[in-house]
């Protein structure tokens, strides 16, 4: 699909599924895009766990071969895929359309300023209970699409965390789609645990 087609599809209710890595997504993406990192093995399984079955999708992969492959796999999995963004981000910008970024924060900055942040943990419940950033709340990635509707602004900036960045970027992108302005915690719990920072358990 051309950038024009993609924009029109977005306006008519389709969601852009950005298949790139969280770092690239945070750096620049289409407004309202959902970040679900591509791999062939379980892309469709993860999409089924997160997205409503009747949501029309436009996929954005780079290189474009990823977009084409994802469109095929998702269609075979029963999703309505309208097409893939031709020309990627470069083509989108050349067509004169705007992009947005997602702020990032590393675990050291988060740790040193923890009181200023509302930390949202996007992992599965068992991981959250095993050990988490003190004071964080759970918005598990598999529940995020439904629960994000009821997400209340905590009155301070939101930082979304997971093990690394894959699930946190997904959940943060869902929140951003609803008008929130979350930051992505780069390095995730792997970095947090490596630095031996305090954790809440249970």
């Amino acid at each position: 699909m051309t950038p024009e087609d993609v924009l029109r599809a977005q306006q008519e209710g389709a969601a852009v599924l950005d298949l790139r890595t969280p770092k690239r997504f945070a750096g620049e993406h289409l407004e309202g895009a959902i970040n679900l990192q591509f791999n062939r093995a379980d892309l469709v399984d993860r999409a089924e766990m997160v997205l409503p079955a009747d949501l029309p999708l436009v996929v954005h992969g780079e290189p474009e071969a990823i977009g084409k492959m994802a469109a095929k796999l998702l269609q075979e999995g029963g999703f309505e895929v309208l097409g893939h963004l031709e020309g990627g981000l470069k083509g989108w910008k050349e067509a004169g359309y705007a992009t947005v970024t997602m702020p990032t924060i590393d675990v050291d900055t988060l740790h040193d300023n923890l009181a200023d942040w509302a930390v949202v943990d996007s992992r599965d419940g068992f991981e959250f209970r095993y050990g988490r950033v003190p004071g964080s709340s759970l918005l598990s990635w598999t529940e995020a699409w439904e629960q994000a509707e009821d997400f209340e602004d905590p009155g301070k900036p939101v930082a979304v965390i997971c093990g690394d960045e894959v699930r946190s970027s997904l959940v943060a992108s869902i929140l951003a789609r609803l008008g929130h302005e979350p930051a992505l915690v780069v390095g995730g719990m792997v970095d947090w645990i490596e630095r031996d920072y305090e954790q809440d358990k249970g």
């Binding site: 890595t21 990192q37 062939r40 474009e64 492959m69």
Partner: protein
Amino acid sequence: MIFKQFRYEPLNQASYLIGCARAKECFIVDPIDDLGVDFYIMEAADLNQTIVGVLETHLHADYVSCARELAEANDCPHYVFESAPATYYFTPLEDGQVLQVGEVKVKAIHTPGHTPEHTCYLVTDGARTDEPWAVLTGDSLFVGDVGRPDLLVGDQALDVMGEEERAQTQFRSIKEKLFTLPDHVEVFPNHYGGSACGGVNMSGKASSTIWFERNFNLAMAQPDAEAFGKFVKETAKPLPDNYGRIKSFNLGLIEKEEIAEAGV
């Protein structure tokens, strides 16, 4: 570190993915067109890796490279040793230059012989230790054998070195630059088994160690460069199919459509 060897069995060719699991970025080394650009893109994506560089040990004569296209598709550099006589743009590497993804380092070791620009890549996983772990030997050191020195295109400006000189340089490069690496360093060649780039003594096993090859490589067991040259010539296989045109494409002299000749 993520390290994956891709074997293309019809040509006994091996290409590689070297990445950092934490940084999620990787290099692809010596990609082959028979597998194709999309193959490497999908393999990298399945490992949650982004391709940030495409490296070649040399400009190949026995298979069509897709390094240029892969680098273009990923909008990343295509690295070849600085003296490579390619007619297209690439990012030149110097001897000793180190490329890095996350904690994984790849050091270029210029090893002329098979071709004048030939370069090996020494791999170190800084997450484990600063000791090197593996070396991608391209068409210099093979398992049990060495890369042949006689795949010339017949154009002096491009061939740079003749067959004799290549043989002697190959011997010295392997002895001085590879066999001086620590014993434990693993050897991963660009070819194995029946590939026409090596001789009859090349093993079907697609990896080895520096210690093993230093002790048991038949070509390198020759007493001097001259005996080595003679041995390599005597144990060579027939020349690879259509190598002149394949090399011409890899040099950027002809288009892909012009390579096909006599069933390649």
